[in-house]
Symmetry: C2
């Protein structure tokens, strides 16, 4: 990697016997080991820090006076797809927040495109300014209860195992499969014993947690209480404190981060949408809040950088010190993590820097394989002799749903919504060209008085999920989605009133993150105009089809009772 001539230049520049490429002058360097702040220059050659705690001359310089340097932040677990933009656009959006490395799991695109989706992420990772590392999606499809676009067995993953951007096996979310020693799961676990295996074990405790850990799984981002996180830490599991757009665990877990634990704790976002990134920030937001909650400042910055690097075996980064990768966040203030400049692999991050990147051809542009529908597709016949029907109950900000019931009127067009009782239709349409399934049922909590909302983002199989007050508008929204190659659509009175195309596998836009944020605002307003009472209607539609989250979910194969782990007959 580093050739001898470059190494010689680094050694000479470190001694001050040759100019550095870049010098940050007179900055307050935070030592994430001791917490001490030292005023110093920081000298950089190529992608490496070569000197600290001294004065240096450089070909170019940045004035650090009055500012602070900390190691670049590492997001230890996220799905870039959740930002709704391409990896290159994510790079441009998130790197200025000081996030110089991310460990992503292309789980969403892999569920649509399989290995082609992973390859797209690896190709993108070769071009981003930030260092995008990839954990290989371990659970595609995530469940057998819906129709996914692809299936990844160990033989599909092995060709990627030794790619330089690949860290290991991504979140092993099929914990029942682990605990039952499912042969397909065992094959994947066995192949990555010498690498890294990411965990995902919500609420797993006691000897079940032991069994899961005995498989060599090392991290968890699903702890939601301090007690759960403390048990996991005591059992050697690194805790990745998650603060996403949907799942927010920082409030509950902040207390576990202290002097003793900080080398075993890191931060992640998992799923964060572009509106939240624009309004609150990314990992910088988590750091700010942890400090505000009284966690020891240098231990928070350590968790966000060096601890993350160590936990995932990234040996070259995580400290601002000679010989380490020059990933540096420059802050106006340490306390509120106000990032004013970012150095990534030795380069000052500027708008122009992003223009130097080679592009990556989009993939999955024809992934939306569902056929156009008519309103008849949503006719829902009552089950014989049943007057009352099960209804999915939705609450604002929860991906958890509840099982409710209602008595609905029946016409020659089947069971009818009850708008006064806020009971509307929900349908999931298989869109991978596999079987054309349509699952239909009812949902309450959206508040729609008319129109329909449709999404091709539908965790984890990403079929089309649509909710609506009328069959006609449901058909309009769905057919527009199919035309767009995927995305979000709002229909009202037979017309589309707002939309966002997500033509890359039905998950990601070809637009800039600024345009996507703008369109999302417009979509929210359009949903509100239908009467929608949920602040994040699209996120909630996107999780209606996830049959591993309690209690009642809708898939293309039918209504699924997660508690019984079976379909509602």
């Amino acid at each position: 990697m580093t050739n001898p001539a470059l190494l010689a230049r680094m050694i000479m520049a470190g001694q001050g016997k040759a100019p550095a490429d870049l010098v940050i002058r007179n900055i307050g360097l935070l030592d994430v080991i001791t917490g001490k702040i030292t005023a110093t220059d920081i000298a950089i050659v190529a992608d490496r820090i070569v000197g600290t705690h001294a004065s240096y001359e450089g070909t170019s310089t940045i004035d650090g006076t009055g500012r602070f340097a900390v190691p670049g932040f590492i997001d230890t677990h996220l799905h870039i797809e959740s930002s709704l933009v391409t990896p290159l656009e994510f790079d441009r959006c998130v790197l200025p927040h000081g996030v110089t490395t991310v460990l992503c799991d292309p789980h969403e695109i892999a569920n649509v495109l399989g290995a082609e989706g992973i390859r797209y992420f690896l190709d993108s990772a070769d071009r981003t300014i930030m260092d995008v590392r990839v954990n290989l999606s371990s659970c595609v499809p995530a469940t057998p209860f819906e129709t996914a676009g692809a299936q990844l067995e160990i033989g599909d993953l092995l060709p990627f195992r030794d790619h330089p951007k690949v860290v290991g096996l991504a979140e092993m979310m099929n914990f029942p499969g682990v605990l039952n020693a499912d042969p397909g799961i065992l094959a994947k676990l066995a192949a990555f014993q010498d690498g890294h295996i990411d965990g995902h074990a919500p609420l797993l405790r006691g000897t079940e947690l032991n069994g899961y850990l005995a498989a060599g799984i090392r991290t968890d981002h699903e702890a939601t209480s301090a007690a759960e996180a403390r048990e996991k830490l005591a059992k050697g599991m690194a805790i990745l404190i998650r603060e996403g757009s949907v799942s927010k665990d920082l409030e509950a877990l902040a207390e576990i981060l202290d002097e003793d634990s900080s080398s075993f704790v890191a931060l992640c976002t998992d799923d964060r949408n572009p509106l939240d990134i624009a309004e609150e920030g990314h990992l910088d937001s988590s750091i700010r809040r942890l400090i505000a909650k009284g966690r020891p400042l240098h231990h928070v910055y350590r968790a966000a950088s060096h601890s993350a690097a160590r936990i995932f075996g990234l040996k070259d980064r995580g400290l601002v010190a000679p010989g380490w990768r020059a990933d540096i966040a420059i802050l106006d203030r340490l306390e509120d993590c106000s990032v004013s400049d970012v150095i990534c692999a030795g380069r000052l991050v500027t708008p122009e820097l992003f223009d130097t990147r080679k592009t990556v051809a989009p993939v999955g542009l024809t992934s939306m394989k569902a056929k156009p529908v008519t309103s008849n597709a949503f006719v829902t016949e009552p089950r014989t002799g049943q007057n009352r029907v099960p209804v999915i109950g939705v609450r604002p900000g929860l991906i958890l749903t509840f099982r409710e019931e209602a008595s609905l009127a029946t016409t020659h067009q089947g069971l009818q919504p009850d708008l006064e009782a806020d009971i509307i239709k929900v349908a999931v349409i298989e869109r991978h060209g596999k079987n054309g399934n349509i699952g239909r049922s009812f949902v309450t909590g959206f508040g729609l008085k008319r129109g329909a909302i449709a999404s091709s983002v539908g965790h984890d199989s990403h079929n089309i999920t649509v909710v609506g007050a009328t069959d006609e508008d449901m058909a309009v929204a769905v057919n527009r989605l199919i035309e767009l190659g995927g995305g979000f659509a709002v229909a009202d009175g037979g017309k589309v009133t707002a939309e966002l195309a997500l033509p890359i596998a039905g998950l990601m836009s070809l637009k800039s993150f600024e345009e996507v944020a703008h369109d999302l605002h417009h979509l929210r307003d359009a949903a509100k105009a239908l009467g929608c009472v949920l602040p994040e209607p699209f996120l909630q539609v996107a999780f209606l089809a996830l049959p591993v989250i309690p209690h009642l979910k809708m898939t293309d194969r039918g209504l699924f009772d997660v508690d019984k782990f079976d379909f509602v007959n």
Copy 2:
């Protein structure tokens, strides 16, 4: 490595659904993250811990009642040759002290045998019970000022780079070569940028330290003051606190080990002889003393285990937790680190366990290539017109020497020792069959009134070093050494009075460590009988020829002034 069927057994045993192979019952488990002690069973399957914080059934059990479990200790830097026994015998000697992993640098044998010596260590590492990992000797020969048996360039090291027991490049002691960007050194550094490069940088500070670190060097075991160690830590260098038989830094460095630093600090012994191991212990002795000095207990145990593993990228070990390698020290008391049982890779360490190991054929049995000498070999002619001669001054327990002077009488047999003034002869005889060099001079501080002491252990080139009151006894001691194939010998009145054969490369015995310890006692007594006043005469003879340690040293090429970095003309 771990096959799916075994993995399934681990998962089931972790859940308590199948018996474990081994259960430690009712032990106090120390959490090195939080310091908490929990009474629990520890379940093990094959080489892995599968359950803690629960009750388990196992095929075999150990009663842990009243005892404590901590992660097995990791010696992060040592030369096994300094124990004077083979790696397999070292294993038998040191593993019962709780040291389950060592990172050794076969620097001594490599200076005699080159790549053959490294291969011998790797072959031995395949057979030991403890996990012996090897860093590849970076500086062979250590200096150009003496004649070594071998030279290792990057081309000689590369064939070993990917051996499963190899961690990286061993201590880069040629720091002037690094700072001057010497091409041979650069080639070695460049080849290990993606791996690990061990440091060795005594007293290096400021921008020189920065230049050294810019080369990607990550660790240091040569800091001798807290201030030096703190600067190195602030510059991202992991500090390995060394406590050997000769170099003892624990007293000075203990204060740097605290809650903030413990993930960046580890322990090592570097060079420790079998008498010290028998009398004081190994890393257990360092741990005991650090705790006695008031360092926080669980952070001391963390540094000795998990921190060491992380610093060197050994991802599978360092915690007593499900999914981690079953390397466990079982202690009677935590405070004084009294090891009563050791589990290594899941196996209880017993005398019988060592009997199961396959042997390794010794190497270097004909490495002692010097020809027998007569007393005339030690005749030292005065330099023309010089009455006064330089004399090497030796002090007890220091490998540092001092430059002194004396006026000596001259006969037809050259310059004469002055026994009243404690000035005796010293000679270094090249023994690798290269050139037959003999360097001669004088030394003070041994106190010998008669006889001679000879050693084929002579850092770092391991020529024959002999000190003596008479030329005749010097010849007797040297010739016996040559007959023995290397070792230590004491001669008195024309006869050998004590000896220890070290026929493996002139460095290691074929005997048991108990026999070696016994013979060393006998050698000490024999030296004392000559009048020797140094408590460790053989260690001090062994460091007389090391021309990188100030101030005046003796090599086969002549008397060397380390301060001037040149020979005394």
